[in-house]
């Protein structure tokens, strides 16, 4: 199985080579005429002012928090899904309890994420 991962890595490596080739071809063929208006940031024609990075991005933070926990949950569900015959009914009940416990923070976070004024 590790050799399969090596093949995946090789495919990715070939893609790196191919995309570098495309970029280099573009760098060779394309004209290079730098001038000032081309190189400032794009702000629909206005002259940009202020820093590029800002901190108004907290609005949907709750969804991102949920993602971390439910990603772990989905991986454990995969661990269960491939061995479902071997664990039978008791394993199924354990997983139902697992999912049920994790539905509580889902409901909590969805309720609070909908209240936009507190973020």
């Amino acid at each position: 199985m590790v050799s399969d991962l090596l093949l995946v890595l090789l495919t990715a490596g070939f893609a790196v080579v191919a995309s570098l080739v495309m970029l280099i071809i573009a760098l060779i063929i394309a004209p290079k005429k730098p001038n000032k208006p081309k190189e400032i940031q794009y702000e629909c024609g206005q002259i940009p002012s202020g820093a590029g990075k800002f901190s108004l991005m907290m609005q949907y933070y709750a969804y991102l928090l949920m993602f971390v926990a439910f990603d772990v949950m989905s991986m454990f569900l995969f661990a269960w899904g491939v061995s479902i015959y071997n664990v039978g009914l008791s394993g199924f009940l354990a997983v139902v309890l697992f999912i049920g416990i994790l539905l509580v923070p889902l409901a909590f976070t969805l309720y609070h994420a909908a209240r936009r004024e507190i973020w």
């Binding site: 926990a69 061995s83 479902i84």
Partner: protein, 162 residues
């Protein structure tokens, strides 16, 4: 005789961990942390635990590194404190080197000097079987910890305090 793959992976992991701690621009550090997690996933793959390597990639790189990167991007530069370094930094590095040498000596002096892959690889279906039959209580405890983490994080992150 040291294995080339192991050496390269170890170099990538350790160097990106050092960069993650020492980089002046914190976003570079977060990206180096993601690279460090990829290196650790490579170690899991070298130990024939491929399921675990995919788990590591999906959860650590896909969720945790992304969350760390996003959070680091939110912090404005003016709010960072400047820490006075100096003798503490040198002392820290010395302590780390001494601990590493001590652990290395312990490992070499024990009977653990040579790892023989004995069984090949265990089928990963055993992971699910063991989690759900022998250690199901740990699974439920994990669910409770995750639930409390999410609820706590949401409560801490929102603006009102009631």
């Amino acid at each position: 005789m040291v294995d080339v793959t192991f050496a390269v992976l170890a170099a990538i992991t350790v160097i990106s961990a050092i960069v993650a701690l020492e980089a002046k621009e914190v976003v570079y550090g977060a990206i180096a942390l993601a690279l460090c997690f990829v290196g650790i996933a490579g170690f899991f793959a070298l130990l024939d635990a491929v399921f675990l390597a995919m788990f590591q990639l999906t959860v650590y790189v896909g969720a945790i590194a992304v969350l760390i990167l996003f959070t680091v991007m939110l912090v404005r530069r003016e709010h960072w404190l400047k820490v006075k370094e100096g003798v503490h930094r040198v002392a820290g590095v010395l302590v780390a080197i001494v601990v590493a040498l001590g652990l290395g000596y312990l490992v070499y002096a024990s009977t653990l000097t040579h790892v023989t892959p004995s069984v090949g690889q265990a089928p990963f279906t055993l992971i699910g079987v063991q989690i759900l039959s022998d250690y199901w209580l740990a699974l439920i405890a994990l669910a409770l910890v995750l639930a409390s983490a999410v609820i706590g994080a949401v409560v801490l992150a929102k603006l009102e305090r009631d």
